[in-house]
Symmetry: D3
Subunit: 245 residues, 6 copies
């Protein structure tokens, strides 16, 4: 039940308190993948889960610009401050909740959004009239999670499965050539870099040549299944419970 | 040149300082038109103008949630505070400008956004490193503008032309039945109402039965042409000029 | 019942829930009219209405500085940010309401304040314990409204009637010479200018030679009568009502 | 040179960098003195000093609502938050400075504004392009300062001299009857009270029967003379100087 | 009962609603006294009072950085904006109150914090669920208060008694040599200076040679006794009381 | 070179651009460890590193209250909002940098601060005149990091070595009895809990019986050594560098 294409009269009849809010980013994803990768991937996962889930789930339109200043040196990257982003998410979750959809999973496609989403959903649970949690799809694909990188095999694969026309497969060699093998520039466990141009030439981390549409399909299945399980848990969660009570 | 589907390397080569930022809303549009009407219409106009324009124009992804608390009593309506909305737009325009696209037209599909967009673009011109103006498509369709309403003939027509699958044509009678003939509840020129449920039963203002795909095509042509002329003017504008200088 | 000159014990006895809050601006009004024009005019209208109205009405002191950065290139213009202005108005309305005067009309004399007043009064109605609406006097003078301009016939006439000593009648020719015939610099319905020095040499829009004290008296009568009618409506308004309920 | 009644063309010719910004309050002043006492008194002092001073001085319109929540239990009292008040003052001083009047004395009539004015003028001096200091008139009347109170002999006297029509002389006995002899409710040097109704029955502190128009004239002379001396000092001040260099 | 060194289980059993929150500053205190003087002194007074008081009192860890931008030209001085400082204090008082310790005395060691603490504790009393007052130790030492200065006899004496190892007694002559005899640079009762380097060469105001450990002991006794009396008063205070009943 | 106990004249002579800012928390650490555990541990690590480092390093006083609302149900826990905390840290780092110590490592002892410190230090590097990174001591103790928990073996060990008087060793059994074996309540990789009382009875995660003073010494050595290496790297870092030169 996608809000963008439904009428208010139809969604008013929906019997559910579950909603998904896809959140992406518009930022460089190397020479081979589109700036909208994170949004497209988040939407793909949210759509798949909403379709598979047994009961109706409201799907809000995706928030297309997130926290991506780290990629500012790469053309086309858009960003908001963390504070603006958190306010935007909080307001949208609040309006979803006002209609009775007060169990919200924020379906996230961008690593840079994770900390801010954790902060804002926690604040919502404690202080607003809603229960919300963030779900980042590439953290929920079993052992594949460790291969994440940036514009690397995972993101590229999901695009090749769900939005193949957006990937320049003929540039995968070029993408690999200018890539870095790790995110950041580390001293112990401290990342000395604040922007991605400090450690990757073309914006890529990881090897996108290892991507495939088949892997993309598997990733979509895994993450959509994980999201469905999360919806079950979110529906049942008592935010007031204490372990000894 | 849509950022969502282009790579950073391709947009880096674009020789332009012009960008379009579509801004919509997710809000009730009667029983016949989708909650995403304003976003879909803004995107349609931005796309048409970018395609027609002689030189390349960057098109940012549409901002899907705007200032729509006035429709809060109708299910599915999403909104942010005015302050959050302005910050979000300002941040996005600032990041567009950082890449050299510092002449930005915000292509707007929602009446409730107009005042906030005027405020924020003016602040950008005066205090940031960019020139930005808002363009609201239904204000730029010649004499048709006066028939605007809400979910009325204009918006419905543009949908029927550009996104016909989203309109329930079989509900136009029902839509007209519960509609109001004016926006607001007026004493003189003061609107006593703050929310739309105070003056319309089903959210509609105007008569959507007067819509047609043909009218939609005409509206798209008119507004896209007006937007192209505006791009010419924006490209040439000297924000520092004074009349006597 | 003007707060500035009444004692708290006298206003405590007033049996009313109606208050007027005049809001002006300190900004250039050409070579012939004072920087305080908007404040003086707003006060004149508020005073006239309070006097004519059948029941007691509290009149707060006028807020003298508003949103006028657009005139910053003309000496003597003062302004606050939109955000500061809205906070100031909201706080003052809130304190009025705390004393039981929770039906407030903001009597405005400046076009630049209109959008911000609409935003803040709407927020007050939805989220605070008060009902407030903005009233801009020159929008409520029948067909004369179309002649508004800036420091033009309307504002100058009201001054010549209510505060004649502040107008330099011997400079009306000079004022007309350097004036513009329209507010803004337009491409279609988009104003490309953000500041008034971009389109007027001496700050005037319209022809102040068409002003007269007689016209001023008429304008005062019209706007005060409109304001009295609005007070009736505001007193009766149920902010919670829905059309179908 | 009062901005409210001057034209922009006339003030543009003024050769000065000095400005006065009167700041008052709208708050209870007992049964005998008007809610606008602090504004009226601040204006009287600013006017007298501007007139006496050898060189031209710009006088801004008075800010009529300040920090007065402490009187909220007395009808008619208006207030803003400290934060809003500081922003309002900072914005106005900033716009004065933009026209070359960047040596600003804030002429204050209300004790509750003192701390906030000190904070904001200090911030202006350190971080903006202006030099500003607050001047509170009743702190600058020699040995009389110690008799200040609230709506007591000093404020009442200045009103009786400068705005005699606003004082109910026939209520001075009543005012004295319900008055307190000290501001606050003290344990050591800590005031346990946050609001004035905690320690005064009718809002008065001190004995207004000791007021007179003659005393008012003396107070006006003293404070205006002190303000003129301050203007001399402000004109000469080098904000960057250090004692040893 | 110091929170820093107690366990949560032990403080959970405490039967009290009283808490002390020491607030200091890290700022220059001349060549002889440490940058942490204000924090050390505030802690000493809070500790002494908590020990002497008949009933248990919770002592929060000291806030070590306050409002000290005025000393920015002297190395090692740290500061926050007034706004940040107020928020920090308000949040901490709020969390103290959440555990039932909702009668809080902020024990302050720095003159620059006084106005901000008055503002924020007043806001807390009016709008939060706690009663809080600020107590500045050197204002509560009888006639000694008048000798305060900065890094002068009072502060140095208290250090020499409570933290003698932090004072360089061999530099007292040097400290006196570069000191000023008054805080500020005055025209009437207006301080024209915003920073301390404008009126003191080495940061000292007053003569630290007049300090002694014995005087320090007396000061500690006086201020701790005053604080104990204040705790009695704070425990009994009814924030809602009005004088007339 | 600890600012708290040094004079400004002594630190002014220090030849270094390195500073450490310890950041802790006041929050429950089970029945056996003090509420100030995180502050004490952060100070211990900062002190050890400053002492071992070859060149002088400025050590600021520890910020004692951080982001700990998650423990709000356990008595004695103090917290600020994330926004207040970030502002406080940013202001302090800014004042450190103003004295030439513009290479700052924030030495953190609390997991709940990590995301906020990452956000604020990144903002400082990009937009202020300083380079700052966060260092969390228990992330830098080799393979021990995985045993972290809360009030578990690592934190307790470091206390037993550096502040043994603060640990109730006789309560370690009790602490273990009510502890949880994992932080959070998980569905996949989403933590459904927002507060610690949802998953631990007495606030402990992990088994503090596995702590020892010897392990504490090892942890201190490891983390101090890691911090010294980081200081080397921070001193050399060019924040403007890009990988491709």
């Amino acid at each position: 039940m996608h809000l963008e294409t439904e009428t208010w009269t139809d969604v008013a009849d929906a019997e559910t308190d579950l909603a998904l809010l896809p959140v992406g980013s518009t930022e460089q994803h190397g020479p081979h993948a589109p700036l909208g990768t994170d949004t497209l991937d988040a939407e793909a996962v949210a759509d798949a889960a909403a379709e598979q889930y047994d009961d109706p789930v409201v799907v809000a339109p995706a928030i297309p610009v997130g926290i991506a200043e780290e990629h500012r040196e790469f053309s086309g990257t858009l960003w908001t401050t963390e504070s603006t982003f958190r306010s935007y998410v909080r307001d949208v979750v609040g309006s979803l909740a006002s209609h009775g959809w007060d169990r919200v999973v924020v379906v996230n496609g961008h690593g840079g959004n994770i900390a801010a989403l954790r902060e804002v959903t926690t604040r919502i649970v404690r202080h607003d009239d809603a229960y919300a949690v963030p779900f980042t799809w590439f953290d929920e694909v079993d052992e594949h999670t460790s291969e994440m990188g940036h514009a690397g095999p995972l993101e590229t694969s999901l695009l090749r499965h769900a939005n193949p026309e957006t990937v320049h497969e003929d540039r995968l060699e070029e993408a690999a050539d200018g890539s870095s093998d790790r995110w950041g520039d580390w001293q112990g466990r401290v990342n000395l870099a604040v922007d991605s141009h400090e450690f990757t030439e073309n914006g890529v981390v990881g090897d996108p040549r290892e991507s495939s549409a088949d892997l993309g399909e598997e990733l979509l299945d895994l993450s959509a299944a994980a999201l469905c399980k999360l919806l079950d848990a979110v529906r049942e969660r008592d935010p007031q419970a204490r372990i000894d009570g």
